[in-house]
Subunit: 334 residues, 2 copies
DNA sequence: TTGTAGGCGTTATCAA
DNA sequence: TTGATAACGCCTACAA
């Protein structure tokens, strides 16, 4: 190897500073960390040299000898989908209270990427929290023993600590509300969730229509892509099949907003001609006109609960799933 | 110290595994890293033992001897404000392409917290990207030599690499558009930005009204808190002072949405009675009815550019500021 | 194929 | 107040 190349700049170390300042590396350490036991004058001098040499401690070396901050990795499908920022915020805030740091990564809804991320993240953080789609065994293979908290798997992850969402209770509230107001012809715009039982929501709906003895069959359920556009399409399909529908339960708020747009385009007034209920409780639902009635989930809390599970995991236990229940927020689309 | 306490579990190391498997720690290393030079049978056995002992390599020890992944810290005021997730996403994606990891932190609009975060983050990451409010000197004192890229400081940070937003050009487009459509009585709902010149936007507006020889004086500018509620208040104030206003330029989309709500409440039709233009180009602007005309900024790109600056910084240069120019997107509020 | 020695950059301990 | 020495857990040589 010649010395021509300006290859790796090589880091300035404690010893470099020590040499330049004419003291021992230990003295430099003391100066940097400023825990007394050092002559103020020496300290000043050493600090000066350190600055000149642009010295910065290595987080690795430091982490090696000190109990370092915990680093939590968070994996979500998409950082921009308004559901996730609140969740992430919950994680960041709960973690921040213990001075933990949070590494955020997104799969972009790419299944293969999920595994890749899991694999690389698990090398760099102490614990992972994630909205994950793969079955437990595949996750296990990818995280290689790093503690993991999974979110919203539908009680489907015996291996891992988890936070679950009791969607049924929330949706029951919504159905009660609708039937209380006299609705009998209630349709549903469903989506297939990224993991777990693809028919979970549909089943809940069926259960509840049965409870209320509604005479709507499966033709009142349309399944669409989980997006505003999907909701738009879904409403049109539903309305075409059943123009006598008086209320629609959407898979989530984004889908509901799409449905709302379709209704407006079709000249269907919400809620006069057709009521509409979303799910998630996104802020955007409050901004549209009329504001959306929705089954509201406290997404920030969801993130905090995930961190709470992390706590338990790190202290050695494998905690039972914790369940978060959403609540109906009645606004003006019903 | 007695041995009663379940104090620190103490980590399982390579040597522990070695001892348990009856080989040298080196052999274990080879087994773990799977780079040949090892008997498959030995490897299998070692790996088994490692798993049983729940061995996981220390990221610190590894980072010490290996050129580790770069870790980028991102500081924003608020993870939930819909402006920032897109920015963060841009950072995450650009960083991800180089297999860098991204640590996200939020100040919650707390000035003191900004400095605290800067201080702690700078100990754990290789470089920081941030929406920061403090003047350069104070930032310098907090990051202690860690490379920093600042965003949207109004060309106000000679010390640091930066990404700037050319708001004037975007707003000029908006004003041209409005005057083209015959508007002369144009009002502004302004806010004071978290850092930099508090009158920046107001000045731009004044410049442009002058360019177009509009006869609106400063009483056509109201200043409110930067939020939906602020926008609501702002519109009411403006409309009360000048009921002959035919168009309003809002500080940003959230403010514009508030203004829109106020207009509706006051029976002012948008855009028939009063046109409305936002700034930022948030997705939510597309979801309201009618969809919001706005000066659209590519926030994801903003994040990518920040990472680009990080690249340059890390390769030794102090790059000149890079500028991103927003563009008017005409929808249906004008 | 396997084991031994040394060093990565830091902090802790103890002696000077 | 300062300095030598020994970890921390891992990896890269090199020797066996």
């Amino acid at each position: 190897m010649s010395e021509t190349g300006g290859s790796v700049p090589k880091r300035t170390t404690l010893r470099d500073v020590a040499k330049a300042a004419g003291v021992s590396h230990q003295t430099v350490s003391r100066a940097i960390n400023g825990k007394g036991e050092i002559d103020p004058e020496t300290q000043r001098r050493v600090l000066d040299v350190a600055r000149q040499l642009r010295y910065r401690p290595s987080r690795f070396a430091r982490g090696l000898v000190r109990p370092d901050v915990v680093s939590v990795g968070v994996i979500v499908p998409d950082v921009v989908n308004p559901f996730f920022p609140e969740f992430i915020d919950g994680v960041i805030q709960a973690a921040g209270r213990q001075d933990w740091q949070v590494v955020v990564a997104s799969t972009q809804y790419d299944q293969a990427r999920e595994l890749t991320l899991l694999r690389s993240l698990s090398q760099q953080v102490d614990v992972i929290v994630g909205y994950l789609t793969h079955p437990d065994e595949e996750l296990a293979a990818s995280v290689g023993g790093v503690p993991l908290v999974v979110v919203d798997r539908g009680l489907d992850s015996p291996t891992y600590a988890s936070v679950e969402i009791d969607a049924l209770t929330g949706i029951r509230e919504a159905m009660d509300h609708l039937t209380d107001r006299g609705h009998r012809k209630i349709g549903m715009i469903d989506c297939v969730p990224p993991c777990g039982d693809p028919y979970a929501r549909r089943r809940m709906f069926q259960t509840l229509t049965a409870e209320h003895e509604l005479t709507v069959d499966d033709s009142w359920i349309v399944t669409v892509e989980q997006s505003v556009a999907g909701g738009n399409t879904g409403f049109r399909e539903l309305w075409q099949a059943h123009p006598d529908t008086t209320a629609v339960l959407a898979f989530n708020d984004l889908v509901a907003i799409g449905a709302h747009q379709a209704a407006r385009d079709l000249g269907v007034r919400v809620p006069e001609d057709c009521a509409l209920v979303g799910f998630d409780g996104l802020t955007v639902g409050e901004l549209i006109e009329p504001p959306l009635t929705t089954v509201h989930l406290d997404k920030r809390r969801l993130g905090e609960l995930a961190v709470q599970q992390v706590d338990r995991l790190l202290s050695g236990e494998l905690p039972p799933p914790v369940v978060l229940t959403p609540q109906l927020v009645v606004r003006r689309t019903t």
